[in-house]
């Protein structure tokens, strides 16, 4: 996920312009992560816009080459949306998970296959952290202080120690911080 230096994933009015600037190194990183996985996990707030945008992207004349590739990969992946109230989705490869998140995820982790990527939003990240379900964190820290907005780790209940696995810096000034779950969390 992309965050600002002060830990926000969106500005106070939902601003995402800072994260969306075209940047080949960021795209390569995002696509590489996408290729390492076969499942995408999304929260209910984020899902509808995600589905609308990426389902339409292949036929959208303003889509970039990278966007079309992202859409193609996303289309072929299993998507899980977590919601108690959502009744149906358009995307054929999406499944709605209403309850028993931990059981469902632990079951899926046992199955063979590639990794699963949680794309957001913040509520789902906190839920998953509080349930101890996240094995790795792949954050792209952007070179700005937003001064307000939606925090990534907004409802995390306790301290989570992490192990730094890798860092990468991009010409755009973005820094990838890649962590695994620490020993005590």
């Amino acid at each position: 996920m992309q965050v600002t230096l002060d830990g926000f994933i969106e500005g106070p009015r939902g601003e995402l312009d800072w994260a969306m600037k075209e940047d080949e190194e960021t795209w390569n990183d995002v696509l590489e992560l996408q290729r390492s996985a076969d499942t995408l996990l999304l929260g209910r707030v984020m899902y509808p816009a995600f589905e609308k945008y990426w389902l339409a992207a292949p036929a959208n004349p303003s889509s970039t080459k990278n966007e079309i590739e992202y859409a193609r990969l996303a289309d072929n992946m299993q998507k899980l949306v977590f919601s108690k109230t959502m009744e149906k989705v358009e995307w054929k490869t999406t499944r709605i998970i209403k309850n028993h998140i931990a059981e469902e995820i632990l079951k899926m982790k046992q199955q063979p296959g590639k990794d699963m990527v949680l794309l957001g939003g913040a509520g789902l990240v906190s839920t998953f952290m509080n349930l101890g379900l996240i094995d790795e964190y792949h954050l792209i820290v952007n070179p700005l202080v937003m001064g307000g907005g939606k925090p990534l780790f907004k409802d995390v209940k306790e301290r989570h120690k992490l192990n730094l696995i890798k860092t990468k810096t991009f010409k755009s000034g973005k820094v990838v911080l890649h962590y695994s779950k620490g020993p005590e969390s």
Binding site: V145, G147, L162, T169, V175
Partner: protein, 188 residues
Amino acid sequence: MRKLFVFNLVTLDGYFEGPNREIDWHTVDAEFNGYAIDMLNSVDTLIFGRVTYELMASYWPTPDAIKNDPIVAEKMNTLPKIVFSKTLEKAEWHNTRLVKANIEEEIKRIKKQSGKDIALLGSGSILSQFAQQGLIDEYRIMVNPLVLGNGKPLFRGIKDRLNLKLTKARTFGNGDVLLYYQPVEREK
């Protein structure tokens, strides 16, 4: 002109301390101390807000500090220091000057003098105030490998977007990542 930089440790969720002022997550090992000594050698003035000043003034002159970190303690105790506070009555830590008003003018005046760099070791309100007045030339933010879940945000007083340019990143063996930024041009 010499530069004023700010150095701070922060958690991955952006806190410089926990809700009860916890900083037990700081990892002070040999590599960190090496960095701290290099940093202190590159400056001739340390600047604090009241809260950080009180914390540091109550620690570095003690026999424990001098025994545990002799080089850093010697530097901290002897370097010229400025504490900005409206409420503090006096500053007794060796070589400390208390400044009660006209912070911005004071900083601009000091920056024009010749000498080594100036380090702002502080958080909270003084950091935000300096940032918004365009007084900070470099941000050195050390991101620690943990999510605290709650605490005091380092940049909490900053209300407007502050665009930065990454100039360097250094990874420490303990998982800390030190990010160096400069503010992107703004009115001075």
